[in-house]
Amino acid sequence: MRDILLQIAQVATVLALSPLLQGVIARWEERVQRSRGPSALQPYRDLWKLLHKEQVVPQTASWIYYVAPVVAFTCMLTVPILIPVLTDFPLPLSDMGDILGGGLVLALGSFAILLAGLDSGSAYGGIGSSRSVMVAILAEPTLILVFVGITLLAKAMLPFVVNHLLVRDPAAYWSPAHLFLILAFFVLLLTETDRLPIHSSTHIEVYMIEEARVLEYSGPLLALVKWASMMKQFILYIIFVNVLTLPWGLSHAGSAPGALAAAAALFLKMLAVGAVVVVVETAQSRLRFYRYQEPLAASFLLAVLAIVANQLS
């Protein structure tokens, strides 16, 4: 019973805290560039506003238009069940899927939004979908390789086992394989959450990837889509933090105060990673489109080196 409550609490944490993370990062970026920036709670207000707005549906939309945001949202609710969010022991439904399964479910969510972009037949939707597929083609093999590297590191496919290994064994934490995996996954994190150097959250049609796909949405469906993308960012950060970089601070016993403390610790870790992301994003300029392959090739290379280093030591 307690475990089921913990599992619901995990999903609730992700649901509740993901807009806050987005708001904090946006505010810090503006602060670093010496302007005041929006309040950190602004995404909540945006979601609230969208939920109360009128839904405008294009004439050419089909059933996919309605289904896709729901599918994406559901996928994002599913993944927190599989990964260590608050506790470091597996909860009842955690063995529904391992690391690879989690990655595939995330990809399903993105795929649903992709289809939605193509569905209404507008030009911008097509542009957005094709560009996001191009980035995905470059990023997915690297993501799979990073997961393979993580698996080889811990000799198991469950993220919980990786977490235990890194907490228990400092030699494994500081091994070259692990350090390379952190770097490779960081580049992928920047790519998947649309940060520079592959920034795309602008409304200028030449650049947009993410925005183009959801251009046709409005009202509650748009709220679902935006919330799903914020949750995806949060989930990727959770994987980065709890599985790879900062595996400490998870609740060991599973009691209520422990869970609350774990949630607070989680958010603090998120803030740390967010700070690094803000610095990286502010220091870089956007790459030209045909150069998107370069950071991803570097990430691929780091993943291969991690695998080789793991086999040799």
Binding site: P176, A297, A298, F300, L301, V304, L305, A309, L312, S313
Partner: protein
């Protein structure tokens, strides 16, 4: 053999230094600017000198301390200084025409590392050394060789080709420090001096290239065919 009986801390130190050198070789492969190239090479040379000192400490080879100091002095300070002078005199900043995009060369480099890894694990298994740092040393040595050849093949600038040759030599030095630390001192010293002489000869030739051919890019060297 030293590499077969190392304690784990020494083994991880060696593997960290070796893999960091390999990573720097990749940085060289993926960079367009000659200045980045040179900085990566300098850091790599210092890492190799550190590795030499570590082997001397753990293996008890006193003369390797001298080799480490000389490596740091020659490969880490003198060679980059000479190359910097050549770059400044030539007034080139970067590779203007690339026959292979840096990202593609990074991917090909990764495949070469996998090939070297497969060859080394086979050899290591045959010799009964599987799982020791000797296999890592072989892998890194062969990969740096292959990456050096890749750099020689896809780069046009004279300086990049010289640096590719120096990466080849760095790879051999790295491997030899781990695999055969007992190699006679005379040999190691003469090879170091040899490297210096090579770079001086290259400097003179580059000057001739600029004076008589007019450019240092090998795209201009197309007159002799057949």
């Amino acid at each position: 053999m030293l590499a077969a009986h190392l304690d784990p801390l020494a083994a991880s130190l060696f593997s960290l230094l070796a893999i960091a050198s390999l990573l720097l070789a990749f940085v060289m492969l993926g960079s367009r600017w000659l200045r980045d190239y040179l900085v990566a090479f300098t850091i790599e040379s210092w890492l190799i000198a550190l590795l030499s000192a570590a082997v001397a400490y753990y293996g008890g080879y006193r003369e390797l301390y001298l080799v480490a100091v000389l490596t740091a002095a020659f490969r880490g300070v003198l060679l980059p200084y000479l190359l910097k002078r050549i770059i400044v005199r030539l007034n080139v900043d970067r590779e203007l025409h690339l026959s292979l995009q840096p990202s593609s060369s990074l991917v090909i480099g990764a495949l070469l590392v996998v090939f070297a890894f497969v060859v080394s694990t086979h050899l290591g298994a045959r010799l009964g050394l599987a799982g020791t740092v000797a296999v890592l040393a072989l892998t890194v040595m062969l990969s740096m060789k292959l990456i050096g050849f890749l750099m020689l093949a896809v780069r046009h600038e004279a300086i990049s080709q010289i640096l590719g040759l120096l990466v080849l030599e760095n790879g051999i030095f790295l491997g030899s420090q781990i695999l055969v630390p007992g190699m006679p001192l005379l040999l190691e010293l003469v090879i170091l001096f040899d490297l210096l002489v090579i770079v001086v000869c290259f400097g003179v030739l580059v000057r001739y290239l600029v004076a008589h051919v007019g450019s240092t890019s090998s795209r201009e060297l197309r007159r002799l065919v057949g």
